[in-house]
């Protein structure tokens, strides 16, 4: 039994302590500490991804210790393809965000970002609910202070809203799991999934709560759905998101959209679907409707926004909606339909990664714009920037086209697989969801048109193009968009065996 996952989880924590001990004025040392730590973590995740036995496909690198024996709570870590994708994403986006801070990097920011990375690593590897929930909720603390970094009253309000929203949603989920514990006496997610597969979980819940036997499973399911739905978020539980993404500094928005939102989707894949496949099948119509509403509503709302960050924020909701569509379609399919379930499930996981990469790149670019414009980021505040900043326009253009799902770039492949699978399973919902694809193209091309095309305004004559440092920050992400767009198997190969285990 190796301890590499524990090591990985706590590397950022050690880095955070290191950074905390550094003098706050030495930005250089702080940046070094942050980058060094995150790059070590990246190297470790990559080596785990390479060591991972893809042919076997199940949970590996397991660590298991008793934690609170009287309550059957264990410290239980392991990783499969799904976890590894998220670990790699976390390890990539965190240094990306640190770099995006540029000169604005403070000691507090480094410490908080590293703490956040620890909670993310913990969430994506934990297999005992209590253990998982601990990291899942703990992430709120650094996230709360990161959103407040801007220091404006609006940022404080947004941070508070974010915190309370997700905390309450967490309670709903916690209550659900307490009921499950009451019925099964375990918090072990793999054991619970095994029970669910044998269709024993629902019976256990009914037996444990005889007075509510008719609807206890449904209530627990809804509690968990709401808890995770806020985090993703699902419309109509999303209203905290535009404020949080907009008021947070751009590098923090990168973390929020790139990583924190993924905790929600991850929860859908790791908790909700394995524990309640039957209920998800039973409630496929409302669930698919929920996904379609999330997709179409957020795209339309993005169309009406006039703030670049808000546009990308709503667009994020839209993109994660496709993940839900794919997952709900998987749950709605008959068991025998392996081809389409595998297609949609692979698409969902790929989309998680792609969205994390692309949306964080978009926020990074918007951060660069804000830095140049003194905080201005209205859709109509600019115009003709391509004239003076062609590299900026070109690279951001690539990220935008990745976001609207242009073939050849990463975004397309995930959406293709999701749509391939979902259309075969739920054609009506999928056809409606295609509206979202179109509307996304409308607002993203409008963004390019207003910001980069047209005559150059006098005030932006001196708008600087990307500096060398900024180019080095974004080019790895852009390069990865091409690589995954052309050769998606690189990533799919990592999690396809896990998908096959997930859908059986």
């Amino acid at each position: 039994m190796s301890n590499s996952l524990t090591l990985l989880t706590f590397i950022p924590l050690i880095g955070a302590i290191w950074a905390a001990l550094l003098p706050s004025k030495s930005t250089g040392q702080l940046r070094f500490a942050g980058l060094f730590t995150t790059l070590v973590a990246l190297a470790l995740t990559l080596s785990l991804a390479f060591q991972y036995d893809r042919a076997a496909g199940g949970l590996q690198f397991a660590e298991r210790y008793e934690w609170i024996p009287s309550l059957h709570i264990e410290y239980y870590l392991a990783a499969d393809g799904l976890s590894l994708v998220l670990l790699v994403l976390t390890a990539l986006v965190t240094p990306f965000s640190l770099l995006a801070f540029g000169k604005g990097l403070s000691k507090l920011a480094v410490v908080l970002v590293l703490l956040l990375e620890t909670t993310l690593f913990g969430t994506f590897t934990a297999l005992n609910f209590v253990h998982w929930f601990f990291f899942y909720e703990l992430s709120l603390v650094p996230a709360f202070f990161l959103i407040r970094l801007g220091g404006t009253p609006k940022a404080t309000a947004a941070a508070t809203q974010f915190f309370i929203y997700t905390l309450f949603a967490g309670f709903a989920m916690l209550l659900g799991f307490l009921a499950i514990y009451q019925a099964t006496h375990t918090f072990d997610l793999t054991e619970l999934a095994a029970l669910a597969r044998q269709e024993k979980l629902g019976h256990a819940l009914s037996a444990a709560f005889p007075a509510f036997s008719g609807w206890i499973s449904g209530a627990v399911f809804l509690g968990i759905l709401v808890g995770l739905g806020v985090k993703v978020p699902v419309v109509p539980l999303h209203t905290w998101l535009p404020n949080a993404y907009t008021e947070a500094p751009a590098p923090v928005s990168m973390l929020l959209t790139g990583l924190l939102s993924k905790m929600g989707v991850y929860g859908f894949l790791r908790l909700l679907y394995p524990l309640f496949p039957g209920l998800m099948f039973h409630w496929q119509v409302p669930l698919l409707a929920l996904a379609v509403v999330t997709i179409v509503f957020s795209a339309l709302a993005a169309l009406a926004q006039r703030d670049l960050k808000r546009i990308v924020a709503y667009s994020s909701v839209n993109h994660l909606g496709y993940c839900l569509l794919g997952l709900f379609a998987v749950a709605a399919a008959t068991h025998a339909d392996t081809v389409n379930r595998a297609a949609a499930m692979n698409g969902v996981i790929l989309q998680i990664f792609n969205h994390g990469l692309t949306a964080s790149a978009l926020f990074c670019f918007i951060g660069f714009i804000e830095k140049r414009s003194g905080g201005l980021r209205g859709l109509n505040d600019f115009g003709g920037l391509r004239e003076v900043a062609p590299v900026f326009a070109g690279l951001m253009g690539i990220a935008i086209f990745s976001s609207l799902g242009l073939p050849g770039l990463n975004g397309f492949v995930g959406e293709f697989l999701i749509f391939k699978g979902s259309f075969a399973i739920a054609p009506g919902a999928t056809a409606l969801a295609a509206i979202g694809l179109f509307v996304t193209a409308v607002f993203l091309l409008t963004l390019i048109q207003r910001v980069f095309a047209g005559p150059l305004a006098e005030r932006w004559k001196a708008f600087p193009d990307l500096s060398t440092g900024e180019r080095l920050t974004v080019i790895p992400a852009i390069a990865l968009m091409f690589v995954l767009g052309i050769y998606p198997q690189l990533l799919i190969g990592l999690f396809n065996p896990t998908v096959l285990k997930l859908i059986f």
Binding site: Q161, V235, P236, H238, T239, W240, P242, F297, S298, L300, A301, A302, L303, A304, Q305, N340, R341, A342, A343, N346, G347, G384, E387, P390, G394, F401, L406, P407, G408, F412, F416, L417, F419, K420, F423, A424, P427, T430, A431, A434, I435, L437, F438, V439, A441, V442, L445, I448, Q449, F452, A453, G454, P455, P488, Q489, I492, G493, N496, V499, L500
Partner: protein
């Protein structure tokens, strides 16, 4: 067959584009060399591929499709493959695309020499060529779709090449979004096809989606009373209609003329806009799975015929030299769709290839004119240019005669006659035939009008017209030759082109010319063309032209409606676009007022509850508690004062108590 070399055809321009993307603005010569060099090799390879398709022989009659399939990704236990395909269809189309693109790449060097972003221009051209050739040689609808979207991207980038012009940026966006509307249909069609056939490969040794087994399944499956093959075909046609500017998705193509003229020639006349027709020809087996009079083909024929006539009408009243040609392109694409719809994809392809040559010629001629009169595009500001630009004039005339369908010498005559002939023989309805004939008449008419305005009469502009340099005129001469030579394999006497696409050997026989119906059609269309040219000359050729069009004087409302493109754009603005933005605002409103409102209400409610409980605490609980405490303390104090500790006090109280007690007892006893 060595498919690595076939793969190089699209890859070379693509890689060259990638390399030039890394170049600096000043490295003009290097970028042009890279892209033109790569395109030259691609062109040679495409001709070789055509030769392979021509010589392919497996000893059996019928079409030979040579293909290679390779895995792209694996999901579950399923491997998704892409593939490359060489057959007569892709051979012909690929050779045309690579050849016309090469000519236009060379021409662009002259046209764009002074442009600041010359380097970037070649990057985008390379991207376009690679993607377009990818569409052509693809053996998988998925790969086609991928390249199809990339072609759309290249088109977007090139229409908006002069991004500082708001009109160009708007036109680029409009083109991308309008075609994407169609692409939504194509995409859904693709997923449905994937579901129905289990593969997106066109040919795969019997397992492909264009092969018998899959076609038979799709033809048999009924969805809502329609054969599934027809539904899928119609969805795919949505994409084809978007790309090929068919009504009602034609609106983007005239606006696309905002791009530099070489772009209009290459993408928006010769190649990309024809991709829709090519796609229909490629997946024609799906359209025809339930027979050549299937509902999907009837729709294609109707849309094509309508578009041909509708766009030709609008072209009559346009004054921008490129817009006239753009509407003419829309109209000619309608002809091609009509040919495919009446069951003759080979005829559609014949017109596609012929049109590619003469329309590229016309656009490049128009570019030469625009260049010569210093960026003027209004034909009313031209006139008499034949004296200043003789080469352009002669080559442009050849293109014009080919487009108008002038008899015998010009390719357009034969290909258009083939379409009219096919439409005439269509048993479903004769209406498309009459619409196409009317469109043919209008074509001759508006092209004569344009010639009269541009090349005849007196020069009305204020520039100093001059002939263009050889780098621009040489491609014109080559294309003019092609516009004439394409007649050779197109005549009914030696229908080599069509037979080749069918996989049959062509025989030379003059009897083809006397085939029943053909002569009749040929004579009718000749009469129509002469009528169109004659009427055009009568109205525009004899008198000096002014600012007001003679037709405008004669029929002002009709002319105005046509000049305003029959208000289609305005109708879209007022309906679709307004509705879209309306829904956007509605969603944002719901978000702000209702959803966020509920959250605020919940927050307000919790504040209210806390305020109430605070109030209860302070004024009810605290008040009662405090009061009772106080009262207790007071009573306690009073009670305590009785227990002063002095004996006299106690005795006094005892005495008082005894007296009261005795009084009470006495009162009770009495």
């Amino acid at each position: 067959m060595d498919f690595l070399l076939i793969a190089l055809i699209p890859l070379l321009p693509l890689v060259a584009a990638g390399l030039t993307a890394l170049l600096k603005r000043e490295q003009k010569a290097l970028s042009a060399t890279l892209v033109i060099g790569a395109q030259t090799v691609a062109c040679v390879l495409s001709l070789w591929a055509l030769l392979l398709a021509m010589c392919a022989d497996n000893g059996e009659p019928g079409l030979i499709h040579e293909f290679v399939n390779f895995p792209w990704l694996t999901f579950g236990h399923e491997t998704l493959k892409l593939g490359l395909l060489v057959d007569p269809l892709s051979g012909v189309m690929g050779a045309m695309v690579a050849f016309v693109a090469l000519l236009i790449f060379i021409y662009s060097h002259g046209y764009m020499k002074e442009d600041r972003n010359y380097t970037r221009f070649y990057t985008f051209l390379g991207l376009f060529s690679g993607a377009m050739l990818g569409v052509v040689y693809s053996n998988s609808l998925l790969l086609t779709f991928v390249c199809w979207e990339l072609v759309g991207l290249a088109s977007y980038l090139l229409i908006g090449f002069w991004f500082f012009k708001p009109s160009a940026a708007a036109a680029a966006k409009k083109a991308f979004l309008t075609t994407r509307v169609g692409d939504m249909g194509l995409m859904i069609g693709m997923f449905w096809l994937y579901k129905a056939a289990g593969t997106l490969l066109f040919y795969d040794n019997g397992a492909g989606c264009l092969e018998q087994a899959a076609l038979a399944t799709m033809a048999k499956t009924l969805v809502g009373g329609l054969a599934l093959s027809n539904i899928i075909a119609l969805l795919i046609f949505c994409g084809a209609a978007g790309k090929s500017g068919q009504f009602p998705l034609h609106v983007w193509l005239p606006d696309a003329m905002e791009g530099p003229t070489p772009v209009s020639a290459l993408i928006h006349a010769a190649t990309m806009v024809a991709a829709g027709v090519y796609l229909v020809a490629r997946v024609f087996p799906i359209f025809a799975a339930t027979g050549t009079h299937s509902i999907s083909l009837i729709v294609v024929a109707s849309v094509g015929a309508f578009t041909a006539l509708f766009a030709a009408l609008i072209a009559v009243a346009q004054n921008d030299i490129k817009r006239i040609l753009a509407y003419s392109t829309v109209s000619q694409l309608g002809f091609m769709m009509l040919a495919a719809g009446v069951g003759h994809p080979g005829v559609a392809m014949l017109h596609l290839i012929a049109h590619a040559f003469f329309k590229a010629l016309l656009f490049m001629g128009a570019g030469s004119v625009i260049h010569g009169v210093h960026d003027e595009q209004d034909i009313r500001e031209m006139g008499g240019l034949r004296r200043f630009m003789p080469v352009t004039f002669v080559t442009y005339s050849i293109g014009m005669l080919a487009l108008a369908g002038f008899p015998v010498l010009f390719s357009g005559f034969w290909s258009k006659d083939a379409i009219l002939h096919a439409a005439h023989l269509w048993p479903v309805s004769q209406l498309p035939f009459y619409m196409a004939t009317a469109a043919a008449f209008l074509t001759a008419f508006y092209m004569t009008r344009q010639m009269a305005y541009v090349f005849f009469g007196q020069y009305r502009g204020h520039a100093h017209p001059h002939e263009s340099p050889a780098v621009m005129t040489l491609p014109l001469v080559i294309l003019a030759a092609a516009a004439i030579l394409m007649s050779l394999p197109a005549t009914p006497a030696w229908p080599a082109f069509e037979e080749f696409l069918k996989g049959e050997a062509a025989h030379f026989s003059l009897e083809g010319l006397t085939e029943p119906g053909f002569l009749q059609i040929a004579l009718t269309s000749t009469a129509i063309v002469f009528l169109g040219i004659g009427l055009g000359w009568l109205i525009y050729g004899r008198k000096p032209l002014g600012a007001v069009d003679p037709i405008q004087t004669a029929a002002a409302p009709a002319f105005r409606a046509l000049a305003n493109r029959l208000y289609i754009d305005e109708i879209y603005d007022a309906t679709v676009i307004r509705a879209l933005h309306g829904f956007g605002s509605l969603a944002a409103w719901i978000d702000r007022q209702i959803l966020a409102g509920i959250v605020s209400a919940v927050a307000a409610l919790s504040f209210f509850v806390s305020a109430v409980s605070n109030g209860i605490d302070r004024f009810v609980i605290n008040f009662g508690f405090d009061n009772s405490c106080n009262a207790l303390r007071e009573y306690g104090g009073a009670a305590a004062s009785c227990e002063g500790g002095r004996v006299q006090g106690y005795l006094r109280l005892i005495a008082l108590g005894t007296v009261i007690l005795l009084a009470v007892i006495g009162w009770l006893l009495v």
